[in-house]
């Protein structure tokens, strides 16, 4: 067991490392005062620490199953349904129909519109479901089925998928990063618990009903391989992530940049002239990575390709998959979301100013403008800055920052964004909490709260208000922001600017919750509270994104 090596470094070793990481001196006992110590008091001996870790992991299952007692989107509202019915329906059709029909069958009724890996996932779990109770997944007859049996079976599947993919991935990445940053072991166990209990993810996966954690878990495996400089494996994991849920594409530009920037031999030695730099490019390795990506994709599509060949080289199915997975024909802004377009649309009516193709081009331009410069900056730093040598902690920080910045850029500026998509940029942002000091921790706990807040309108639709507040309580409690005793991590101590920002954001959120709960919006603007929510969220997301950019810029 990994935890067997959990003995703390001896004091001499510690001091040596402390000299190495002067900037991170304060990080050794981030959670020294966290309330969770009240429960882990008896586990602080090294041989018991592994128990503490498993206790926390299992405790998150308690939380998840308890959230699952709440309703999912569309429960009890028969004609509408929601993601729950969609997932159940996919389990039904993948088990009853031939592969060739999966992406064609009755598209009007929750047709399959996720990539193949989700379809296989549905197929396997559907098999299990059919074995347990045939009536839950009877073709056509089971539509809109609602009973405790199917509900908790599906809830169980989410917890299991999460436990198989997301949990191990998170533990793996955290221990990798924790080791590099010489983190206190209990701290790093607390981080694991905190990220497993991340309110947004629990509420969406175990409440609203989706399988985001699987995609995020696959992505985390890719991050782990990137940290270990195993780019072929990383790209395979990443292709898997995309094939589970297309939302993982938010990370794609940066993983491309990062792998490409790492394809130079000894670049910091030869970087005196650009010609030498270009000459040091490792074409063979790039080729290998490309082949790995291609092969993985082909293997994932194999059943579909097989049928295409059988049907005489007609690639209708593959085209249909692409059409279903990337529905470009949908509108530009879906709902009211806390991103740039929905927010500025309040003032500037884009649809009146531009035609649709123009608008599409504008969207694309701004998205690229938000993503390309930071990517270039990071690539430049990786190539030219000697501080970013292999095995340096700077490299891990810039890797996480890059993922965070790129995906936040996508979330804030691209089109067709769901409020749930915020989980994608949040994931690398969370990992950043491990890399510096308490100050970052405060900001990251704060952004966790803001992201949950931004999903509140959706959760209210799901009847998950109680669960929303409880999950926030748990998350803040674990991270030590809600500590009855002392040393609250809610508000930073040293920076006046951030103090103002964070306090103002909490005041704004509170105002929103009170007005949403007790005041009806004016008749002229029925969406006023919703807009208030998205505007508040966008403002603070924007500030946070700028801060990330600044951090990437000053990191030297």
């Amino acid at each position: 067991m990994a935890a067997a090596g959990g003995a703390k470094p001896s004091s001499s070793k510690k001091s040596k490392k402390a000299v190495l990481n002067k900037s991170r001196k304060g990080n050794l006992h981030v959670f020294q005062d966290a309330p969770i110590y009240d429960l882990l008091k008896y586990f602080d001996r090294a041989p018991d620490q592994w128990a503490a870790r498993y206790i926390l992991i299992f405790s998150t299952i308690i939380l998840k199953s308890a959230v699952g007692l709440g309703s999912y989107l569309g429960e009890g509202q028969l004609p509408i349904h929601g993601d729950f019915e969609a997932q159940r329906h996919w389990m039904e059709i993948t088990n009853h129909l031939p592969v060739s029909q999966w992406y064609f069958f009755d598209l009007e009724y929750w047709g399959l519109d996720y990539p193949p890996l989700t379809a296989y996932h549905s197929y396997i779990f559907g098999k299990l479901g059919l074995f347990l109770n045939w009536s839950w997944f009877a073709l056509n007859d089971s539509r809109g089925i609602e009973n405790p049996g199917i509900k908790y079976f599906m809830r169980f599947l989410v917890i299991i998928s999460d436990f198989i993919v997301y949990g191990p991935a998170l533990i793996h990445v955290l221990s990798l990063i924790g080791k590099r940053f010489n983190m206190n072991r209990i701290d790093h166990i607390v981080f694991t618990a905190a990220f497993l209990c991340q309110p947004g993810l629990i509420l969406i996966d175990n409440g609203h009903f989706q399988y985001n954690s699987v995609m995020l878990g696959l992505f985390l495996f890719a991050v782990a391989e990137l940290i270990r400089e195993n780019y072929i494996l990383a790209s395979i994991w990443f292709v898997l992530a995309i094939n589970f849920k297309q939302m993982a594409l938010y990370y794609a530009p940066f993983i491309f940049t990062y792998i490409l920037a790492n394809m130079f031999y000894n670049y910091y030695d030869v970087s005196k002239s650009y010609r030498q730099l270009i000459r040091s490019f490792n074409f063979a390795k790039v080729f290998l990575v490309g082949i790995a990506v291609l092969l993985t994709q082909v293997v994932l599509l194999l059943p579909f390709i097989w049928i295409s060949f059988e049907n005489g080289f007609t690639f209708d199915i593959l085209r249909q998959i692409v059409i279903r997975v990337f529905p470009f024909q949908r509108g530009l802004f879906e709902d009211k979301v806390a991103n740039f377009w929905c927010t500025t649309n309040l003032v500037i009516k884009y649809r009146e100013l531009f035609t649709l193709p123009q608008l599409t081009r504008l969207l694309l331009l701004l998205t690229l403008a938000s993503i390309i410069p930071p990517n270039l900056l990071i690539a430049w730093k990786l190539l030219m800055n000697k501080k970013f040598t292999k095995n340096s902690t700077h490299r891990i920080v810039i890797l996480l920052l890059g993922f965070a910045i790129t995906s936040w850029g996508f979330f804030l500026f691209s089109f067709q964004v769901h409020e749930k998509s915020v989980l994608v940029p949040l994931m690398p942002t969370l990992l950043l909490a491990l890399t510096r000091d308490r100050f970052d921790l405060v900001l990251i706990q704060w952004i966790i709260n803001v992201t949950s807040f931004s999903m509140y309108p959706l959760l209210k639709k799901d009847n998950l208000v109680l669960q929303y507040f409880t999950c926030l309580l748990v998350s803040n409690w674990i991270m030590g922001a809600l500590n009855v005793k002392k040393n609250t991590l809610m508000i930073p101590k040293d920076s006046l600017f951030w103090k103002l920002i964070i306090v103002s954001s909490y005041v704004a959120m509170l105002t929103y919750h009170i007005s949403d709960q007790f005041l009806a919006p004016p008749a002229r603007y029925p969406d006023l509270w919703l807009i208030l929510n998205t505007t508040i969220s966008f403002a603070y997301f924007g500030i946070f994104w700028l801060w990330l950019l600044y951090r990437a810029y000053v990191l030297n």
Binding site: L39, R45, A51, F58, A66, L69, F469, V484
Partner: protein, 570 residues
């Protein structure tokens, strides 16, 4: 377990920990001791599961308490114990009725509109009522937290504080309370809070307050009458009598001096006034007979539909086994007939037999073994209670007192008439206060809590709560298994192979609960798929109650042994 043998070596690495903590002395470093051992954080995080399960399953007890809210709110006091629109009539003592009346005053308008306060045969309520009543349980549980915090704060030494904290945390986080109060729906948290107040008064030698709190507790819920003998003897021997024979005085003086008259008078006054406040108003209205007939209904059967894990579960199990033997082995019939002298005619009636083996409580519970009457259960309970009281009478100190409470609880739980599985808390709460005193107590304790809590599982039978109840209980057990092992006092006479053997066996037995839970859960899971499993519903419950009953009886034996034999403990 390596820990049992290397207990002494264990404490060494603790000293070189990163967290510098002074040992065996009042903490003088920056975090003040009350800060370090505060239950507030635990209370805060526990809010989360409590709130989340609020929307899940609740039992008919929820409607029972809702009905009581309605009765106490709408009717005059004289009618409380007379009203019978719903079958869930008020059958708790007066303080609980007052408490319900108080709660009913707090019902906000939307909850009222939801039907919370209607006197109807079957409650017709929605989410607002659920939220309100769940909130009252969570709020009333504060009594427990305050009591436990007081218990911690009144410990003087650092080490004893540390032990008290482990005890308090284990009770605050108890899966029993989570399952019974917050899912099933009852107000045990508050009741046991009062019990803890009483115990701590006893610990601090405040006999008068001890008597006061116990009287209050009795007026809240009369199930605690089972503990009354221990409290009575403790107060009698420790407060009202002085068992010292003074040779200088005459015999008469000694006899008079035997009784501490002022103490008797004070205690009598306190207890009497509590009972007057409770029962006085009802006596004034002349409804005491109705009240008492509600409190003590004797029309119920020996066991519940689901057998509580006690002696009678084993007894019934043996009866069911003998029935099968009788039916399938013709040779055995005459022997069985000779030995037990039962009415064979009953066994030939398949309808009756079917009903009974399914666990439906009918008039006849036993077919082959002799029938158990309430008198028998009463005598057995009293006998074992008196056994426990004799040492207490001669040695009325705190530890003996808690030990006697535990044994009284055990006796009533194991031999009582119509015992609920929920009543196991009456044993678990007091025994937890003792467990840190000696490592040898850990084995019976672990056996008791694991079997006791697992026996509560059938109470929450809905699929949604399955993961919750299992993981919560499992986590609790692991946390406090380690915690108590870390803080417990080591016995003076280390060694003794029988103790270690018992320890090992209990651990094996506890591990056996895992396949038990898995197996019964699998039966649940496949019920909709395989028709025959539905007929075996009763077998599943029987398995759980017999297995846990054996565990609880063994833990009782282990504890009794220590209570009566190991003098160093007390």
């Amino acid at each position: 377990m390596a820990k049992t043998s290397t207990g002494a070596a264990m404490s060494l690495p603790r000293e070189v920990q990163s967290k510098p903590e002074p040992k065996d002395q009042p903490s003088s470093s920056s975090p003040s001791p009350t800060d370090q051992f505060s239950l507030l954080n635990i209370w805060l995080i526990l809010l989360a599961p409590k709130l989340l399960v609020a929307v899940g399953y609740h039992s008919t007890d929820f409607d029972v308490h809702r009905n009581w809210l309605a009765i106490t709110h709408n009717l005059p006091l004289s009618q409380w114990y007379v009203e019978a629109t719903s079958q869930w009539t008020l059958d708790y003592p007066p303080f609980f009725a007052y408490f319900e009346w108080f709660l009913s005053q707090l019902v906000p308008a939307p909850v009222k509109a939801d039907g919370c306060l209607q006197i109807v045969p079957v409650g017709n309520y929605g989410l607002p009522t659920i939220y309100f009543q769940r909130a009252t349980v969570i709020a009333s549980e504060l009594v427990l937290f305050v009591a436990l915090q007081w218990f911690i704060n009144t410990c003087q030494l650092y080490l004893s504080k540390k032990r008290a904290y482990a005890i308090a945390a284990s009770l605050a986080l108890s899966p029993g309370l989570m399952l019974i109060d917050h899912i099933h729906f009852q107000y045990n948290g508050m009741m046991y809070g009062i019990l803890v107040l009483m115990l701590n008064c006893a610990r601090l030698d405040q006999h008068l307050m001890c008597g006061f709190w116990f009287a209050v507790l009795l007026c809240f819920k009369h199930i605690y009458l089972y503990l009354a003998p221990a409290v009575f003897v403790y107060l009698l021997s420790g407060y009202c009598l002085s068992l010292k024979y003074d040779n200088k005085k005459s015999l008469v003086n000694n006899v008079v001096g035997l009784i501490q008259w002022t103490n008797c008078l004070k205690l009598g006054l306190v207890v009497a006034s509590v009972f007057t406040v409770a029962f006085g108003p009802f006596a004034y209205y002349g409804v005491l007979p109705q009240l008492f007939s509600r409190l003590f209904p004797f029309s119920r059967g020996l066991t519940h539909a689901y057998w509580a894990p006690n002696i009678w579960a084993i007894y019934l199990f043996v009866d069911r086994v003998l029935i099968q033997v009788y039916k399938s082995v013709p040779l055995s019939r005459t022997i069985l007939q000779r030995v037990f002298q039962f009415n064979a005619g009953l066994l030939s009636n398949p309808d009756m037999l079917n009903k009974s083996t399914r666990g439906i409580v009918g008039d006849i519970e036993f077919f082959i073994l002799p029938t158990i009457t309430p008198q028998i259960t009463f005598i057995l309970t009293l006998f074992y209670q008196i056994m426990a009281l004799i040492p207490l009478f001669f040695q009325p100190n705190y530890k003996r007192f808690v030990g006697a409470l535990v044994l009284c609880g055990y006796a009533s739980f194991l031999f009582g008439w119509h015992v609920h599985e929920k009543a196991i808390l009456i044993v678990i709460f007091p025994i937890t206060f003792l467990v840190c005193n000696s490592k040898s107590l850990l084995a019976p304790f672990n056996l008791l809590v694991s079997c006791g809590y697992v026996s509560l599982f059938p109470l929450i039978f809905t699929p949604g709560e399955w993961i919750f109840k299992v993981t919560f209980t499992f986590m609790w057990f692991v946390i406090f298994y380690v915690a108590f092992n870390a803080v417990v006092k080591l016995p003076k006479n280390v060694g003794g192979s029988s103790g270690i053997m018992f320890h090992r066996l209990t651990q094996l037995y506890i591990l056996g609960l895992v396949p038990l839970i898995l197996f019964t859960s699998m039966m649940d899971l496949f019920e909709s798929k395989y028709e025959f499993l539905r007929k075996l519903e009763f077998l599943k419950l029987m398995l759980i109650s017999v297995y846990t009953a054996l565990g609880i009886i063994s833990s009782w034996n282990g504890f009794s042994w220590l209570y009566f034999v190991d003098e160093t403990l007390w």
